[in-house]
């Protein structure tokens, strides 16, 4: 679809039908569907056209949710999605569209569904993210390195299936985490990751888990305050500083 903002009109078809049919009829039917949707804030696109609602979709068992952060990942994940028999919401960050990156010419380059990726290795703090958040996290890690802080950047790539093992592995090494997401803070990706870390890595926690997300407001038109409401590299740096 043109943008994910229009998916709300199709929520019943996506959630009540595409995501349920395989289970509801106990496997009689499959729904091999890939829904591609551009996601995220545009330039002053205003409140109804600036959503990043991937976590809403990831809430429902029966759907997979793909959120690539680089052109190469997008290629390998889309290949995997098309070859899979489950309904998959495949979101593409609008802000990342103009950012080029190398892509293989191999037509069979397929990335495994539900596997995240370490985009930068580090040992002092883990920045956990997906899609556009990865860009902010990598920029922040670069800044932090100037002060000798080595941040590890975990790109989950998929909100469902969620590669929690990768998160736990990194956290057990760094003992600190900041979750970076373009989406809203309430009942969010960040909430879920933070809850999972405290449950599974409690003895490894040296500081509170911090979250950087969009502000809890509808996005306005005026440029100045629109930018105020969104995450950025400085907000990630500030959050890291609080827990180091």
């Amino acid at each position: 679809m043109m943008t994910i903002n229009f998916a709300f009109l199709a929520l019943d078809a996506i959630i009540n039908h595409a995501a349920k049919i395989h289970y509801m009829f106990d496997g009689q039917f499959t729904v091999p569907l890939v829904i591609r949707a551009a996601s995220g804030w545009g330039n002053q696109a205003t409140a109804t056209h600036s959503h990043t609602p991937e976590p809403i979709f990831a809430h429902f068992p029966g759907l997979y949710v793909a959120c690539p952060a680089t052109p190469s990942d997008a290629y390998g994940m889309l290949k995997a999605s098309i070859r899979n028999d489950n309904p998959i919401l495949f979101t593409e960050s609008i802000a990342l569209y103009p950012k080029p990156g190398p892509v293989t010419e191999d037509p069979d380059f397929v990335l495994p569904i539900g596997k995240g990726d370490i985009k930068r290795e580090g040992k002092h703090v883990t920045l956990i993210s997906y899609a556009r958040g990865v860009e902010w996290s990598l920029a922040a890690a670069k800044e932090l390195a100037k002060d000798g802080v080595e941040a590890e950047v975990v790109d989950l790539r998929w909100l469902r299936p969620l590669d929690l093992d990768l998160v736990f592995e990194s956290f057990k090494k760094t003992n600190r985490a900041v979750i970076v997401e373009e989406s809203l803070p309430m009942y969010s990706f960040g909430s879920e990751i933070a809850a999972q870390i405290q449950d599974h890595c409690f003895d490894y926690m040296d500081a509170p888990i911090k979250r950087v997300s969009a502000m809890d407001v509808p996005l306005p038109f005026a440029r100045e305050i629109e930018l105020m409401a969104l995450p950025n590299v400085q907000k990630v740096l500030d959050a890291v500083e609080e827990i180091l």
Binding site: D12, H17, H22, G27, Q28, G62
Partner: protein, 324 residues
């Protein structure tokens, strides 16, 4: 005009009686708390529409409907045993006990299900018909729609695209005059629902007598033949339901008591068809009785089958969330 032979007519009679007895027994089982849950939508009163319409299909043609689906599944040839087991949420149910009464499907019979969100199956129907066309088969899909669902946004989206893409589909509005508790004329400025066909540029199959199985079969046969070659048809089948919208609707019988009694006395699809058969074939009475008894026995067996089927287990709970 089709001219079905005696054997065919008696098969339609059998299906109608089977549906009536099955539904009546489901109602009793619900009162006895052997069928549980808050939803169960009986097809009693509608039999001629479902049976007459599906008799116009080939085995490789498709049907999809809403939650009033047990009768449709029976008419498409699904065995009563796994349907009854599904009603009771048992492992041997058509959907392993995970779908319940509103989600009766059988891939083998091209019965794509029962769907519980009003109007939600209409885009699926268009999708099935699109697949038939895309794969260059000559299959047709029948999609049953309630009169209430015909005012839902999905109706517009799905019927419109079926017209634009000339999909091989017959949309049948089962107009039983009352959507849950709202009469058609209270929610719809134009109560002749079939007239909408013109607005979508598709063939208007007219309003037919949904209590007359032969009339339904004639009209739907023409519509199916047209859809197979040319594209969609919209038919409005006028019928009446004998019970509330679902088992939770306790006021229907009282609110519409006089009208309901009138339909039962004078427009019951099974009684009307019995009169036709008696007029057509001398001394058919004992044969009809034998068919009736065999259906009663089939329903008894389905109850026995369902009661003996195990409850689903934890493994069933977590199975088929995703395709492996």
């Amino acid at each position: 005009m089709a001219n079905p032979n005696k054997e065919t007519l008696l098969e339609w009679y059998r299906q109608m009686v089977l549906i009536r007895l099955f539904e009546t027994r489901c109602d009793e089982l619900y009162q006895e708390k052997k069928i549980t849950g808050v939803y169960m939508h009986l097809y009693s009163g509608h039999e001629a529409t479902g049976v007459g319409a599906l008799a116009a299909l080939r085995p490789d043609d498709n049907v999809i409907t809403a939650y009033r689906d047990h009768g449709i599944a029976l008419a498409k040839g699904v065995h009563p045993n796994p349907i009854m087991a599904e009603m009771m949420g048992r492992k041997d149910g058509v959907s392993g006990g995970k779908g319940g009464s509103m989600h009766i499907a059988s891939k083998e019979h091209r019965m794509w299900g029962g769907y519980a969100i009003v109007g939600g199956h209409l885009p699926l129907a268009a999708g099935i018909a699109f697949a038939s066309k895309y794969k260059d088969t000559d299959e047709v899909t029948i999609c049953f729609i309630g009169d209430g669902a015909s005012n839902n946004g999905y109706f517009h989206e799905a019927v419109n695209i079926s017209g634009a893409w000339k999909l091989p589909i017959v949309w049948i509005i089962e107009n039983n005059l009352v959507a849950m508790g709202t009469r058609v004329e209270d929610s719809t400025a134009q109560p002749l629902l079939h007239l909408r066909a013109e607005g979508y540029g598709i063939k208007d199959g007219g309003r037919i007598d949904g209590q007359d199985v032969m009339a339904v079969h004639d009209a739907v046969s023409d519509a199916v033949a047209y859809a197979r070659k040319n594209g969609p048809v919209l038919i409005e089948s006028l019928t009446y339901r004998y019970k509330g919208h679902g088992v939770s609707d306790k006021s229907y019988d009282k609110r519409f008591a006089d009208e309901l009694e009138e339909w039962k006395q004078n427009r019951d699809p099974i009684t009307l068809f019995e009169r036709v058969l008696e007029g057509k074939y001398k001394n058919i009475g004992p044969e009809l009785k034998r068919i009736h008894d065999a259906c009663a026995q089939a329903v008894d067996e389905s109850v026995e089958f369902a009661l003996n089927s195990p409850e689903p287990t934890y493994d069933d709970l977590i199975r088929n969330v995703y395709v492996d």
